[in-house]
């Protein structure tokens, strides 16, 4: 009987012997071509205003989604460049079929829809507030108005360098107010002017123009931590660059914009969002 404790301790010892990982170097891998060579203009914090992100979950086989798109355009007209839209084609109603052959879905969008428990569409998530399933279009205005835009917690400056199918996004994040949570930055590509069928009520509009369609992310669904840790002090800036090749995609660079989303890693709330066309010859729709 008295042997039992020794056996237990022996087990402990055995477990502990194997409780050690040894990692061989090199430990880090440098991202390719991410040297920042551009100069960002000086930032005047007084001129920075807070922009709001609206992520609209939608699908080409969703009968009510065109009404959602209309609502979104109405809000963009109302709020101008302070409202930045991203249309995420997700759920079963976004799946391609023979009638709707184009795939406007993305892996990033599917992951976001799963995480936000998006079930019915159209649904909107404003500034990634903790709102499972999103909200219906009729509530988007009040949700946008609920965002405190009296001050800007951070500024995002973007410079895109584009040459022959190669895009390099340069971002400078400046924290204007103290933030205790780690921060992450996501860089999304959205495309405008995609002509593809869409159900509207009971009819199908063959030449429907889809705008703000999320195509993908340059740095993963949830982006990357600033500074490796996500922590910046007020007044501090962080430079970040990411490259992307349009080769192998059917996306039209001149129709695309980069959307940069700065958010709180702990609660996903968006602190600031910014967008910039990929090319100088951007064609808005």
């Amino acid at each position: 009987m008295k042997k039992i404790p020794y056996i237990i301790i022996a087990f402990f010892a055995l477990f502990l012997i194997y409780s050690c990982d040894r990692v061989e170097g090199p430990y880090i891998v440098l991202d390719d071509e991410e040297t920042i060579t551009v100069d960002f203009p000086d930032l005047d914090p007084a001129s920075v205003y807070r922009k709001v992100l609206i992520e609209e979950y939608t699908g080409h086989r969703c009968p009510n989604c065109p009404a959602g798109h209309d609502k979104l355009e109405e809000l963009i007209t109302r709020f101008g460049d302070t409202l930045i839209p991203v249309c995420i084609h997700a759920t079963s109603l976004a799946q391609p079929t023979t009638e709707f052959p184009d795939n406007l879905m993305s892996a990033v969008g599917t992951e976001l829809a799963t995480d936000w428990q998006i079930d019915g569409i159209p649904a909107g998530v404003i500034n990634r507030a903790n709102e499972p399933m999103g909200s219906i279009p009729a509530r988007w205005l009040s949700k946008v108005n609920a965002v405190d835009r009296s001050h800007a917690p951070a500024a995002i400056q973007l410079i895109n360098q584009y040459d022959d199918g190669l895009l390099k996004v340069n971002a400078k994040i400046t924290l204007l107010e103290p933030c205790n949570s780690p921060l992450k930055l996501s860089l999304f590509i959205v495309e405008n002017g995609i002509v593809s069928p869409q159900i509207n009520g009971t009819e199908t509009i063959e030449d429907y123009v889809h705008n703000h369609v999320l195509r993908g992310s340059l740095n993963g669904t949830y982006g990357q931590l600033l500074n490796g840790t996500g922590e910046l002090t007020a007044g501090e800036s962080y430079l970040y660059a990411k490259s992307f090749s349009f080769a192998g995609t059917n996306w039209k660079p001149e129709h695309c914009t980069v959307v940069a989303i700065l958010y709180d890693k702990n609660n996903y709330n968006v602190l600031q969002v910014e967008q910039l066309p990929v090319t100088n010859s951007f064609q808005p729709f």
Binding site: K2, P5, Y6, I8, I9, F12, A13, F15, L16, Y18, S19, C20, D21, R22, V23, G25, P26, Y27, I28, V29, L30, D31, E34, T35, I36, P182, Q224, L225, N227, G228, T229, E231, Y238, L239, Y240, A241, K242
Partner: protein
Amino acid sequence: MKKLLQSVLLFLLVAAAWPAQAQHQLGNSRISGDFGFNGMYYIPDSLIGADAVDSKVRANAFLNLLYSNGGFSAGMRYEFYQFPLIDFEKLNYKGQGIRYFFADYKNDFIQVTAGNFYEQFGNGLTLRAYEERQLGIDNSLLGARIKITPYKGIYLTGVWGIERLNFDTYVGRRDFVRGLDGEINFGEMIPKIAEKGFVFNVGGSFVSKFEKADEEINVTVFPGTDTVRQAVIATDKIPQNVPVWAVRTSFGYKGFRFDGEFAQKMQDPTVTNDFIYRKGNALFLSATYSMKGLGIAASFIRADNMDYRSQRMMKTNSLLFINNIPAINRQYSYQLLADYSFASQPNGQIGVQLQVNYQIPKKSKIGGKYGTDLTFNFSRFHNIDRQWTPEAIALGTLSGTDGYTSNLFKFGPDLMYQDIGFEFHRRLTKKWELTLAYNYITYNLELLQGHEGIMRGHLVAADLLWKVAPKHALRLELQHLYTKDDEGSSIYGMLEYSISPHWFFSVGDEWNYGNPDKAHKLHYYNIAAAYVWRTTRIALNFGKTKEGILCIGGVCRAVPASYGMGLSVTTSF
């Protein structure tokens, strides 16, 4: 959940209805516990930086209950910190519930514990799970512990658990700690050794933490002038199992004693060490000698990359520490030195401490009728020597490399803290006692508090006690800190009157008269009264608290400025 709440309420009702007398016996069973309430009414004061508090009144409250019967004991602590004192809110120590409960059985051979427990291996270089209520620290482990004494003088301990993180539930946690400690006390094993006045112990411990690595770490590197690049530490390059081991010994003969412990931590890239892969190590040495009227104590400590926590991305002060690097410097309770207490630096410190106590004998010419105590103290701490590795130099960062090399006994270039102090204590007559002290403190504000500069200050303190009448005593404390640095010179005075064993009154004021900013030459006054009845103490105080730091045993936390009235009630039964 409902049942749990009902049980808590039942416990609280039982505790409230229990008559106030110490420890209750029911046959062989015994129930004991203690209760604490610490509340404050906050008044905003923009001059000292005391912010308005929406709810105006805040409080911390807890109740400990302990049941024991022979070798069996069980206990729990209910804490209500849902709307805590602002100090604790800033630490995120906020919530309510039972986060501490355990059942324990022990006999001469074995002790087993399930639930929460506190434990320390050796000097704590590998494991120290402890509670320091004033600092808002509770690093208890939730899990299981086994202690065995297979033979007289041989002790084995095994622990396995998840470390407490404020009021977070343990659900979904992907980190845990396991460890083993052994110690042989030769004095207990072979009584003749102890009988001859020898002390000889050896011990060793091994602790390992596991944390799932499922998110890569992004770092910024600076490979050339004006060049910034991003880099990634992939998940398969992040060690998930990180061990630390230590060996220790102590031996002594009569008045002499020596203690030593050496610990080494394996690769542990974390946010607090800039994600370096260098092994950490710590060395603690202490020697003391005492004889009648004389005591000498000397210590040495070096810690290099020894911040060891359950989660690699945790950097908040004091949270999730598995180990503890002890502070060896002399600890003071002087009000004016509170902001300049040395906080132990587990990732880089090397220092020495020497203290000599001498008692001038009683009834001698110099020593006087009652004798005189003299104390000399010297401590000095530097950062450690660090030579960046060629890879770190090439990348312009320590992150993602082996970091640096360091000479074990070489002091780093920056002085962090130095204290040279003298103390004189003498009982003047049957009714009067006097303590005089002088300290010269050098405190590196940049390395220890993150703001620029070095504080060099002279502290002179006097403590005079007058036993007015039997049970009545009056105590006067005066301090003066002279410095041209930081917030300038301050003076402090406090008068305390006690009528033992029930009443206690005090009035005190700290005046920062030397603050370079005229608007901040402020007074921080405090008036307090307390009543003690058996094991219950009720205290009221009114006044201002200066923004600063509070350190206990080298572990510190920030104290926000506050103004208002406080009420504290503690009792044990």
